[in-house]
Amino acid sequence: MLAIETIDLTKDYRTGFWRKRYKRALDSLNLQVEAGQVFGLLGPNGAGKTTTLTLLLRLVFPTRGTARILGKSFDDISVHARVGYLPENPYLYDHLTPEEFLNYMGELFGLSAAERRRRVGELIERVGLAESRHVPLGKFSKGMVQRAGLAQALINDPEVVFLDEPMSGLDPLGRREVRDLILALKAQGKTVFFSTHILSDAEALCDQVAILCYGRLQGCGDLHKILGLSVSSTELVLEDPAPAALAELASHAASIVRTGARVRLEIAQECEVPKALQIALQHGIRVVSLSPVKMSLEDYFLAKVAASPGSTTRSES
């Protein structure tokens, strides 16, 4: 079952003093996110990640296209009852304590007083704000505000959680906790749709990723398939080879890097691998490792970003 589907979703913003020019923030986005998955929307700053999220939540309106969330049109705000959302750098009510704030959010979902009490207590513990439950949010650090923001996104026990840059402003410990929280949500069968430009987070969490650049979808798919798709080269690590052997090996390797006693050879052509290995064995060199070098998410991301055309700006005629 699809949790989120966008069809030709497009957004133009008016710019300029007379607002007669258009800047395309999102261009014909077609995405399908299966229920229960962790989906990462990746892209550099200004790629259209936040625009996608705000479109899905009807905070801005599309120029063209539509979307469906949990089988319902995104126009139908009743679907918001089954959705949670953490905006980027959330601003919460400074005068409220986390308890009061979460209680207010619970009221907006129509939760009963007993249910609110239970959920608020549970979430405050879960995001690590138990010690600060009576401190006004205005006195919170950025990381603590982020935690309170995460708690409000989960107050209704949502089926789909939208998180806009959830790790932003968090220290390594906080990032680890958010990662664990996302994985726990996945284990509960929730769909998590999050935007990030921190690739290690996406690599650690996502089942699927989509890469946006200048508002256009550059690539989308199963993360493990993407990363397992191409073996860019083979890495051969040898223990202290003799200079003569190394000279012989040089013709088969694209690069040779010595680190201490070890030498790392990068072999670009697959057919060169047995030849290099044979030379090493003939010279009695100890082979430390032989491994294929797979494309990292960063390599994939950079390749996609580099291949993307520039932004689209058009003037109204």
């Binding site: 705000t54 959705v83 905006p87 959330p90 601003y91 919460l92 959010m105 009221e107 979902f109 409000q152």
Partner: protein, 259 residues
């Protein structure tokens, strides 16, 4: 639906009672009412007229200032601080948000007017050393002040959806002042020979909020009661005008985008 509107209204009330400007204005209003006793003592024979006149005027002016100062930031502050993102991502219709905000501010003004009314009656009791049935007359004027405030809050909420807080304050204040002189504006047009000017003043008279009939402070201070038709016409006018203003605010807010 009602739960969400009530919840937003209660939250707005709690938020606005934390505004320092509210307490400053309230203290000033109570001081003015207190000062009315002083003015009364130096006005031989018309002490009560002075007290009622000054007391009710203070309630009206300070109530209006509270409505403007808090009302203008009501929606724009939520947008500026981006708390609106969190609210509108919940199953909250934009219309519910606006109505909740409006009712919350109205509740704040109702409570503050009640406090100022208590201060006013305290001053009256101090001056007269006792209250009679006739002293209930100012309550009619206070009801009309509340109706005016309901319209001013509607204006403030509408402008708050369209413009910056500063401009919203200017627009609301200007309309409040113009609204108090609308009858004179129309009279001026009718006296004119130019049909264009007559048409223009008529248009302004019917389009802008007309507060002329809401000001009964002078009559009340002279012990005259409010005619029955005025109770009905003012109540209906305020209800209609508030409905139009809040509907316009909703219409504007429905089309707003939050980037």
């Amino acid at each position: 639906m009602m739960t969400r509107v009530t919840s937003i209204a209660v939250h707005t009330f709690k938020e606005s009672v934390r505004e320092r400007v509210l307490y400053n204005l309230l203290v000033f209003a109570l001081l003015m009412i207190g000062a009315a006793i002083l003015f009364g003592t130096i006005s031989v024979g018309i002490e009560q007229i002075i007290l009622v006149n000054l007391g009710l005027s203070s309630i009206s002016v300070f109530g209006m200032l509270m409505a403007i100062f808090i009302g203008i930031g009501l929606v724009s502050k939520e947008i500026e601080r981006r708390t609106i993102y969190v609210i509108l991502s919940k199953p909250v219709a934009r219309a519910e948000f606006i109505v909740g905000k409006y009712l919350g501010l109205l509740l704040t003004l109702l409570v503050n007017t009640a406090i100022m009314t208590a201060g006013f009656y305290g001053a009256l009791l101090y001056q007269k050393r006792g209250l009679g049935l006739n002293d209930l007359l100012p309550l009619g004027a206070i009801y009309f002040i509340l109706l005016q405030l309901a319209i001013v809050v509607g204006l403030a909420v509408l402008f708050s959806c369209i413009s910056t807080p500063l401009l919203s304050a200017v627009y609301t204040f200007c309309l409040f002042v113009i609204g108090n002189f609308l009858s004179d504006v129309r009279w001026f047009g009718q006296e004119s020979a130019s049909p264009l000017l007559r048409g223009l003043t008529d248009l302004v008279y019917y389009l802008l909020p007309n507060f002329s009939d809401f000001n009964v402070i002078a009559q009340i201070s002279h012990g005259q009661s409010i005619p029955g038709y005025l109770w009905v016409s003012n109540s209906c006018y305020a209800l209609l005008y508030v409905t139009v203003l809040v509907s316009a605010a909703i219409l504007v807010f429905e089309g707003r985008e939050f980037r």
